[in-house]
Amino acid sequence: MRLSLRLALAVAGLLSAGPVLAQELHMGHFHEQTGEEIFHGVCQGCHMPNAQGAVGAGAYPALANNPHLAAPEYPALVILNGRKAMPAFGDMFSDAQIANVVGYVRTHFGNNYPSAFTAAQVAALRSPESPSEVEGPAKEH
């Protein structure tokens, strides 16, 4: 008798409601919208409240006074795909959120790169290598 719970639910016509709720409960996206909200709600966890970075056994780079921010594509790609210790956030932020936070750091903390950067430009940077929705964040251990 091999009948899984999944099959039982499918038989009862219940599966359609499942994945959506499961996603709401366990996965999710960041709710912060403006660049300021996103930086201080998320990014400062590592890059620190004044974007000065931090040093321990390893280091988080400062975003303050950072010439790597001259081209908006660079920070956008790092946010989307990750780089070394920097996690990939492509599946947790929308294009608009990424454009907003890139705009924010490029015009704060001693950075003065006011050129516009749009959600459409972020969308164009998303590649098949960007993280998929399926893998998700860490599970409990």
Partner: protein, 535 residues
């Protein structure tokens, strides 16, 4: 269909025969699980204490990192006759095997310092907190090191499952959701079976077995319905429990409406205990997970150079040299040299340290970032979860950012204070927690928890919060592996590069588990020893 018999494939099968058949089926299932478990134990790498036979003739090994992998390697290699030394960034052994006690001070990146104010004997395990029964390597070392273990409670039917968006934000007991969900699913399956809708999938004979199974599994009545009554209350609990004497009649409780239950999403929180790692029996060290690291550290006294921050790793034809400075005071660089190196530094840190290994290993190191996770410990004036709510150990789940509330599986019925795990979460919520100051994290955790336990408001005293992306020596909780990353990089990460081999949870197929760190270490030293014996 009569009471004492069910039809089977056109004939009649007596209930006793049917139950005998189910018993036989269950018996073989149990047997099958046992057999596959044995096979798995063989595959996972721990086949008993490691034996490194033969004389290494004074060969030396430099080990970087005094976590589980590093200390296991040092312990076993020294026993086999190697000269070993460990460089460790922290001023204590254990790495992520770590407990915070009252009086401890912890400073995270950014300089945010917390002084732990817990009462004597109370603790938070910021990292690992449970040892599954099939993680035989870590259990082996607990035994060898005389680390006393006690049961960890994973599933507690009296704990809560909670959604702010369901049932007016009032938590439900795990047993209520579990019983109602199983009951309704069983009833639906039974109905579908009776209406002939499973004729394509299940033979007539098996349908009869299925019906009986659903009745037992779901606590269905004789009409295959899940409804209010003593039968359902034996699973979900009562309004008033059966008692003695004159006031003894039990009052059954009302199951939730099926639609409410489904829409609540609470069913998403009742399956964690089915996961292999979370099945009974699970253990925890008495007095905190950090007891294992401390015991290893005592065993390796004199071998570990603490406060050593590695800044360069270089190998040549003769050996491996690590350059390091004092992690607290800096000062002039010093060098440690050996014939070989087992490097257990997390990939998130190692990717920033110059090391002359090949592109394949270097790419693998650079490809791994570390996942987000946080833990918050909260001290309360009394153990209200036991005293008011009969919750003894286990975990409540909530849809709020704190994710879980873990109850201490030790010191039950103590009149003193107690420390709850007030938050344990991942993904976006964990990144957001990391962005807060430690004080904000604690305050938020109290706010969330009060929606499950209103007692929080009066009983809370103090707390400590560890956000793993702010931990100076890991930059995250554990390596983030995906299927694609494994396919591209795993073999290159674990291969020996000249005289250097990596070990740790990141170099295992059990990421984030101490078992993974140990199995990785044992496999690395086995291969290292083979190389030494044949060269």
């Amino acid at each position: 269909m009569s009471e004492d018999g069910v039809s089977a494939g056109g004939g009649k099968m007596r209930r006793r025969d049917l139950l005998t058949l189910i018993g036989t089926v269950a018996g073989s299932a149990v047997m099958y699980r046992a057999m596959s478990a044995m096979a798995l134990a063989g595959e996972s790498g721990f086949t008993g204490p490691i034996k490194l036979e033969g004389d290494p003739k004074g060969a030396s090994v430099l080990i970087l990192g005094a976590g589980m992998a590093g200390m296991c390697a040092a312990y076993e290699l020294r026993k086999a006759g190697y000269k070993v030394q460990i460089l460790e960034y922290n001023d204590r052994p254990g790495g992520r095997n770590w407990s915070l006690y009252g009086g401890d001070t912890y400073t995270e990146l950014g300089g945010f310092t917390q002084k732990v104010e817990f009462d004597k004997g109370l603790y938070l395990n910021p990292g690992p907190w449970r040892l599954p029964y099939h993680h035989q390597a870590i259990l082996h070392y607990c035994k060898v090191l005389n680390v006393a273990l006690e049961p960890f409670v994973q599933v507690n039917y009296a704990a809560y499952v909670h959604s702010t968006k369901a049932f007016g934000g009032k938590p439900k007991r795990y047993r209520e959701v579990h019983a109602d969900f199983n009951g309704y699913v069983a009833e639906l399956l039974a109905k579908s079976t009776q209406q002939g809708r499973l004729d394509q999938a299940v033979t007539r004979e098996d349908q009869e077995i299925l019906l009986e199974a659903m009745r037992e599994w779901g606590a269905l009545d004789k009409n295959y319905e899940y409804r209010k009554g003593l039968l359902a209350s034996e699973r979900r609990g009562y309004v008033s429990d059966p008692g003695g004497g004159t006031t003894s009649a039990p009052i059954p409780s009302d199951p939730m409406a099926m639609s409410d239950l489904l829409k609540s999403g609470l069913w998403g929180s009742i399956s964690a205990g089915h996961i292999y790692e979370f099945q009974n029996t699970i253990f925890q060290p008495k007095g905190g997970m950090g007891m294992i690291g401390k015991a290893f550290g005592r065993e390796l006294e004199g071998v570990i150079a603490y406060d050593s921050k590695v800044i360069d790793i270089h190998q040549d034809a003769k050996g491996v040299t690590a350059t390091y400075v004092n992690a607290k005071t800096g000062g002039p660089p010093r060098k440690a040299q050996a014939d070989y190196c087992i490097c257990t530094i997390p990939a998130s840190i190692l990717g920033q340290i110059p090391m002359n290994v090949g592109d394949a290993m270097q790419s693998a190191i650079q490809a791994l970032y570390y996942d987000a996770s946080i833990k918050v410990g909260l001290q309360f004036k009394r153990r209200f979860w036991e005293q008011d709510e009969s919750i003894y150990g286990g975990i409540s789940f909530t849809d709020q950012p704190n994710g879980m509330i873990g109850y201490p599986a030790t010191d039950y019925f103590s009149d003193g204070k107690g420390v709850l795990l007030g938050a344990y979460t991942f993904g976006p919520a964990a990144f957001e927690y990391a962005a807060m100051s430690p004080q904000e994290r604690v305050a938020k955790t109290v706010e969330y928890g009060a929606n499950v336990h209103p007692q929080y408001r009066d009983e809370f005293e103090n707390g400590v919060a560890v956000a793993w992306h702010r931990v100076p020596w890991t930059l995250g909780c554990a390596a983030h592996w995906t299927e694609a990353l494994r396919a591209e990089h795993y073999d290159n990460l674990v291969a020996m590069d000249g005289r250097i081999m990596l070990a740790g949870e990141h170099a295992s197929r059990l990421p984030a588990w101490q078992e993974g760190a140990l199995l990785s270490s044992l496999d690395a030293i086995r291969r290292l020893h083979q190389r030494v014996m044949t060269s």
